[in-house]
Symmetry: C2
């Protein structure tokens, strides 16, 4: 497969981009080459594909099902009962729906923590984007439950590993230090190490979590994870809003990767904003996530960039914090770096995960500053073309099978509620 | 002009809506009547048009020109120097651009405080939406400047009044208690009273403003406005984030209308969230605004609904505050009520300002709860059809002269920077 993009704007200059297989081969003002696909990108800007560093993709099925509820009411009476009913088929269609939404809003890679990872893998392989995916491990300190989880996890993760698919990478997902026993966390750690997989955990999302960890583990979550030797460059920690400065420094020491979810943090009223400036100072890699559709309620990373930057300015009384280019970096380069992917930037030799932004959209008029318009004015609807792994997944906002998938996923969602 | 909308969803029921002149005449499951325009609204939901209760529309020209700057640097070195150069022509094209953006994102009425109101009026009359518009009055406690402002304001406001246009209503806009002298404020008050116009002011946006008012006027802003007899049901106060409880009660006593601007408040780091619960308890009418494009950077009221609700939840540590239906009410009924317009709800006898929402958009799939999807999942791009004052301004996302206006406004914006 080869793609030649002509006349696109890249860093404010008109240029051509030539893609061969899944790699950006050449970037030059004029490229003369035969390509299978030619795209005239006049009045379009090329930017890297966005990466969603923390989500539960198939929660698209729950979109709008339960909002504006007190946290425990929401979880216990709405989310958990529905999750208990989820099947392979639900995960497959929920993830397919999520992939359509991500492609349409410019996300080329997502980090998923949910159920039935084989269904997720099938959906993502068909959709054409990338995922780091694994089932969520929760044992609630119960031995029997732990053993069942270990069995289920080994099977799912090894099955996905066996696929050996370049776009579907298994990731080990212990839920959190307050829902997984020491033995459970150790199993996750060891399994990830043996199989050379990344780890992904919820960390310091609420004050309650820190208190519960002190009660259960006699340590705050970061110290506890250090004791368990789980802090490493291959750990992605989602949320991380309730951290002390010395904990930020500790996470940086181990090069742990941070997945920030501003929309979810605000909607679920976690009570504190990510300490971005301290994290930046400490040298941490901060990436951006949407969290699941039950707490967001969409997968639009463009929207999350605006929320991330504005939440910082508001929470720290500082207009200059997280300027537009840094917000964009969270959603591109930092995310790709967090997952050790050779992308997140449009350069020769990098993965061909990129977007063409329609500069004719009203949100880009005038266009004094493209990055500002992307972060503060636009939303995911500005994406005209989505290319992932060297394949065109959307052009002129058309995605293959979109109508069919929406119809079927909607049916699956309604049946799930009625079960 | 008559419009018959068939098969649309209204409050979860399939129905037809018949519009004659600028009024919703009939709502019934089946209406058999000849109409000039027939719209098949299958898989579309009808909701009231949105109202933007506080903006500076022509600031669209500044979109992305200056962001991420310390407040005084931003104002003194970027915004004010540009504003000093604005001409009638700039205002005309900037407002035309703003109108296109508003129509495309479902806004049918806006409250404008800026310059060259005759140009604003011309642009709005052509665009087809409604405005309350007036020049901004700033005298900086200088007598000469005040006299010039009075002259300019009388001329502009009386000229717009003379148009006697049903969609363009002059409004008197003293900027704030820290930028207008006592005599200036009194002139605004008296002029509004004599001409039966509404008043619109910035109020308690920052802590600094309260301090400055104490210094200059020996009173906090609310008490000072009370002393000047400016508090009334015909005063729209924008921002109102730095208020004490007794000030909220005082504003409610006078039935002052509140224009809340969550995105701008966050981006400009005003340091505090609107005390929505106290305002609700006090019975205040709270409407929603975007503020200008320099501090937002778009005019998408859908986006502002999400920001409003999430900012409340986050700031007050409460997941249940400002649920989806209340956020939607801020942007519809409350706004229309604030301006004493007979609309903001789809009922027989009301103004025909309404939208058809495209339920086939991915943000509405599944559609467990339309209001949740509107507020938390969608953005202005979900609007398929915008009807204002009984006229179709957009259908299938097409607005008359959009391309021409975008091109010309962009040129005007670039020339303004180069001046």
């Amino acid at each position: 497969m080869s793609i030649l993009i002509k006349n696109c704007l890249l860093n404010n200059k008109k240029t051509s981009i030539y893609i061969e297989d899944n790699i950006i081969k050449e970037i030059k003002p004029n490229i003369f080459v035969e390509a299978e696909h030619k795209i005239d990108a006049t009045n379009k800007a090329a930017i890297p594909g966005l990466i969603n560093a923390h989500t539960h993709a198939a929660m698209t099925l729950f979109r709008g099902y339960a909002d504006d509820l007190e946290l425990h009411d929401w979880l216990q009476n709405y989310i958990w009962p529905l999750e208990a009913k989820l099947t392979y088929n639900d995960l497959y269609w929920g993830t397919k729906l999520a992939c359509i939404e991500m492609i349409k809003t410019g996300t080329t890679c997502f980090n998923d923590m949910y159920f039935f990872t084989r269904a997720v893998a099938k959906a993502v392989i068909e959709a054409g984007i990338r995922t780091f995916a694994g089932p969520v491990f929760i044992d609630l300190f119960d031995k029997e439950r732990r053993e069942a989880e270990i069995k289920r996890h080994s099977a799912d993760l090894l099955a996905v590993k066996k696929l050996n698919h370049p776009r579907v990478i298994p990731v080990v997902n212990p839920h959190s230090v307050y829902s997984v026993s020491k033995e459970g966390l150790e199993w996750n750690r060891d399994f990830a190490k043996e199989n050379d997989m990344m780890l992904h955990i919820h960390l310091a999302e609420t004050e309650e979590e820190n208190k519960k960890s002190l009660e259960l583990n006699k340590k705050r979550p970061v110290d506890y994870l250090e004791e368990l030797k789980m802090l490493s460059p291959k750990l992605v920690a989602a949320h991380c809003v309730w951290l002390k400065k010395d904990e930020i420094i500790k996470l940086a020491k181990y090069d742990v990767k941070i997945a920030h979810n501003p929309v979810s943090n605000m909607k679920l009223a976690v009570g504190r904003a990510l300490n971005y400036d301290e994290m930046k100072k400490a040298g941490l890699t901060v990436a951006l996530g949407t969290d699941g559709c039950a707490s967001n309620n969409n997968l639009d990373v463009f929207e999350s960039m605006k929320f991330a930057s504005l939440m910082q300015k508001f929470s720290f009384n500082k207009q200059t914090i997280m300027p537009d280019d840094e917000a964009l970096k969270l959603a591109t380069l930092n995310g790709y770096k967090a997952f050790a992917l050779n992308g997140g930037v449009i350069e020769e030799g990098k993965l061909a995960d990129l977007l063409l932004i329609d500069l004719n959209r009203i949100q880009f008029i005038p266009n004094h500053n493209l990055t500002s318009n992307i972060v503060y004015s636009a939303n995911g609807n500005c994406v005209n073309t989505t290319i992932c792994d060297g394949k065109i997944l959307m052009q002129n906002r058309k995605v293959k099978d979109e109508e069919k998938i929406k119809e079927k996923a909607q049916e699956v969602a309604y049946n799930l509620i009625r079960k």
